[in-house]
């Protein structure tokens, strides 16, 4: 199912089985995510899109199979072993997951303060530079509760990239945003990929934006994954794939018409 992925695989899933109690999310998932490219993970609700990201980060463990991240096997690692892998990852959570008792500045500075020996002036420079890169100004002293949805996402992105991760995971970066903000985030993500050359894995419902961004698409279906370049999948004759895109397209059209 894996048409030639551009570039070498940076993250690999090998026959991964994931179930939460009785509910099986995927039976045997095998797929690869190419290095330095933007990969998009699509699928219906409950298909396990967010679970894929959590598996990569080791937040949950699969019942069977292997997951290899940047050459390191993630499955079967202890919590301290996982910390070593996570140093290379940056994750942008769906709700931002900023620490609500800290200011925006302190949130973005957090990884630097925890893991580097940088002094405060250097930290301030890097934080401001990163905030500027995501288009946030004058937000240093604000608390996450005082930010708009779009600003929260951008702050979360700033925090995710400040340590220059080799792999960036984005869980629903466009959710809950108005169309203008969606375009903004889209451009930001493209620019981050450009400048950092990080491998990016994006989970999203937003077909339009993700297809524009994607170099590689992994579509999660009930009986396995279908992967390929965006154009390939869109033109695919596979009934399941075509069915998915038709459904999403009509939903999107309906949403726009109603808006």
């Amino acid at each position: 199912m894996d048409g030639g992925a551009p570039g070498e695989a940076h993250v690999e899933f090998d026959r991964v089985r994931m179930a939460f109690g009785e509910r099986v999310v995927f039976r045997s998932l095998t797929c690869r995510f190419p290095r330095a490219k933007i990969s998009v993970i699509l699928g219906g609700s409950g298909s396990g899109k967010s679970t894929v990201l959590r598996l990569i980060g080791g937040l949950v463990a699969p019942q069977a199979g292997r997951i290899v991240v940047d050459g390191d096997e993630v499955t079967g690692r202890s919590e301290s072993g996982l910390y070593a892998v996570r140093r290379k990852l940056g994750m942008m959570f769906q709700g931002g997951a900023l620490l609500d008792s800290l200011t925006v500045f302190d949130n973005v500075a957090f990884p630097l303060r925890e893991h580097t020996a940088m002094r405060e002036p250097e930290i301030a420079d890097q934080v401001h530079a990163t905030l500027a890169a995501v288009g946030l100004k004058d937000v240093d002293t604000l608390l996450p509760g005082q930010l708009s949805g779009g600003m929260v996402k951008r702050a979360a992105l700033a925090r995710a990239i400040i340590m220059r991760p080799v792999i960036l995971l984005c869980d629903e970066p466009f959710s809950g945003l108005d169309p203008i903000s969606v375009k903004l985030i889209e451009r930001l993500l493209a620019r981050v990929n450009d400048q950092l050359h990080a491998t990016m894995l994006i989970v999203s419902h937003h077909i339009a934006s993700t297809m524009r961004l994607a170099d590689w698409v992994v579509l999660l279906l009930p009986d396995g994954a279908v992967a390929g370049r965006p154009e390939e999948l869109r033109r695919s004759t596979d009934s399941r794939v075509a069915g998915f895109f038709n459904e999403e397209a009509s939903d999107a059209a309906g949403a726009e018409a109603g808006a």
Binding site: S101, L102, T103, D106
Partner: protein, 163 residues
Amino acid sequence: MKRSPLRDLVVGVFVLVGLGAVAYLSLGVGGLSLRGPGGFLLYADFDELGGLKPKAQIVISGVKVGQVDSITLDESYRARVLLDIQPGLKLPVDTSASIMTAGLLGDRYVSLQLGGESELLKSGDHITITESAVVLERLIGKLVYSGGGGEKGKSEQPEQGAP
């Protein structure tokens, strides 16, 4: 961080006040003494303690001058009480010690009456003249068994704490 030096100060004050309360309860109320027994220690032997406990007060003319440090049994099975007294007091060798009661339900304490000799007690000496505690049951028993004229029967015990 929203860390302000003012907040730290407030926390510091809180901790100090809390520790102060702890100290007050331990020392002021609970009677914990940080120094060991002081310099001036005297022994007194009694036949009957009547409930005298360690840390009971030692009193001269109603003024507290020390506390009972410990109580043991001596060779002849009398109660040997170690008195921890304020240093610097001049007590003649014929000073007497009696066990009294404070109030009707009150605690026992030791009252010292000064004697008249010129020689003084030194730390480690024994007070030779002692008066044991009055135990109510024995007193009533005496009253009952001495029969007849009640006054004669019970006037053997000279001093008692005021009921």
